[in-house]
Symmetry: C2
Subunit: 342 residues, 2 copies
């Protein structure tokens, strides 16, 4: 078969944001794409592309957990794709696959960098959600760093988000009293009605950490585990409520990503409270547990299959919408995992 | 023997400090003291009385690790005393004992609340230092919360103090590269010359966290374990230098005790850095390890006996000087353990 040239579309990360990331920091590139494959390569076409808060961290100038995302390259991202052509025995046309192929319609990947998705087992989109990176982060972050015990009190910030909405459910299954912090009545309703939490707090109703802290105290009577996706004022409010030998898991600090990464914002010092309570804080990343994915899947996949867990998704339509969808994460627009269908 | 009335002297905690504690927050009380003992009671006369930074925490209005120290009562403190009279089989006149008898010359204690000091094994004052509460804090804080590995880099704030000067030596014995932060050239000289550290930084030479941080980076090339007795600007400077899977041990926050406990000061947010490095912070208190004292003594007592460890002391003369001695801790006047000889 002679090489075929088709048109590909890519979103190029073009300009570092100082504050909020938006479409002005990206450029759409359309270019001819040579579909010829080398041995062990697979040609894929994206169907669902991920937008995640960590992308904003990598756009900062400082070295975070990685070097800064290079300018002038395709925005990195997880994607669920269909195989268009394959020179690997492991994949055939029509297979659904998960890979880190970024914000582009077509990609050539080495077979080693793709994972086949079992479409019988669960909806394909779960590979970017409850059975993928967010699920792994929620599961190991809570279970390994949090070590929940039945009867303990768990508070989760960003509780209606991709990771938070799973953490709260895993904590309920562990026998904990679970409270979610989220922005807006709609999300709080989701947390208490649909996820069955013991309570939810709309942080937007509170204008300072002290009043929010008082509400956390009133509702929870003290916090054993705080799973933090947000940071800032919400964390300022919760840390004083941490009980003896409490555990704080830092999974994200989304409130700080609009500029607080390169130049930290200021907030109340709290290390003395950790001292008094002999509490711990631990930062975790999804990649710390990649090699242990099968442990999580063995437990969580049956819950997905048997509808024992809610895996909410917000799906934005259109490849053109990727930068706007990323931006909307920082507006708190989504419930559950945010995906773009292309 | 008929009851004998003698004169006792006590320092009464009389007034809550807002900022720095000083003699104005204490009242000296002299009163007749009935020396008659009940069964199992022991009459002791203090010889060395302790002053420790935690006393200032208990003087704050808020509940810290304990309820606030009650006003109008003898200042609580560890003391090394001699037995004057005894109605316990376990103690006889002339024995040296350790107890929590506070800032007073004479006390009647239940035999259960006293520990006999073996005067052959080590100088009696070590019972309030390297073989006592500060030693226990240093040992278990570093070994259990820090988990040092040979070749790792350890930084200690308050490195010339009662706890810090032991932590740095324990870390050297664990095979680590060890750097101390202290105030003044004299203390830094002590750290490098007498304790053999790999380096010391006089934080008073730096007027902001960024310049101090740059010096920490230049000297250490990154920090695996940070043992923090001080907090504030020093901690602001060191946290950005914490390496992957680093461990921060919060043993004290002495820079915050002059008022930052009731109303926290503000400083740069750093939880995102913990996230990127997947580092941990853990608060520890001496009392967490009281039941494991024998484990520490089994290892550290021979080091004391064989002069393998430096246990520096600063001794202030005179019962009258107790409030001033406590105050001087917050001026950073002492090297090693600060004691008052009465």
């Amino acid at each position: 078969m002679p090489p075929v040239k088709v048109l590909n579309k890519q979103w190029i990360y073009a300009k570092r944001p100082n504050g909020r990331v938006s479409s002005e920091h990206y450029e759409m590139r359309e270019a001819e794409f040579n579909t010829e494959l080398a041995q062990n390569e697979v040609l894929i076409k994206a169907e669902y592309i991920s937008v995640d808060p960590y992308m904003r961290i990598q756009q900062a100038e400082r070295h975070s957990f990685d070097a800064p995302h290079p300018l002038g390259t395709v925005q990195g991202a997880g994607a669920i794709s269909k195989v268009v052509d394959s020179k690997s025995d492991g994949f055939k046309k029509g297979d659904w696959v998960l890979g880190y192929s970024g914000w582009q319609l077509l990609a050539k990947c080495h077979a080693n960098d793709l994972t086949k998705i079992d479409t019988e087992a669960a909806p394909v989109t779960t590979a970017l959600g409850v059975l993928g990176m967010p699920g792994r982060t929620a599961w190991f972050g809570l279970m390994e760093a949090g070590r929940p015990k039945p009867g303990e009190t768990v508070v989760v910030s960003g509780a209606a988000g991709a990771v938070g909405s799973l953490v709260v459910q895993f904590a309920k299954k562990a026998g904990c009293r679970v409270y979610g912090i989220a922005g807006g009545a709609n999300k709080c309703q989701f947390l208490t009605s649909k996820l069955g939490l013991d309570g939810a707090i709309d942080y937007r109703q509170f204008h300072d950490a002290d009043s929010l802290s008082a509400e956390v105290q009133r509702l929870t009577k003290g916090v054993d585990i705080y799973f933090d996706n947000v940071g800032g004022m919400i964390t300022d409010a919760i840390i004083p409520q941490i009980k003896l030998r409490g555990r704080v898991i830092i999974c994200g600090q989304i409130s700080q990503y609009d500029g607080g990464i390169d130049t930290p914002n200021r907030g109340p010092r709290f290390l003395q409270h950790l001292l008094f309570q002999r509490a711990t804080i631990q930062g975790i990343l999804a990649r710390d547990y990649t090699h242990r994915m099968s442990e999580m899947l063995e437990i969580v996949s049956p819950w997905v299959r048997n509808n024992e867990i809610v895996f909410e998704e917000t799906i934005v339509e259109g490849f053109d919408k990727l930068p706007d969808a990323l931006n909307s994460l920082f507006e708190g627009a989504n419930i559950g995992k945010l995906l773009v269908r292309v």
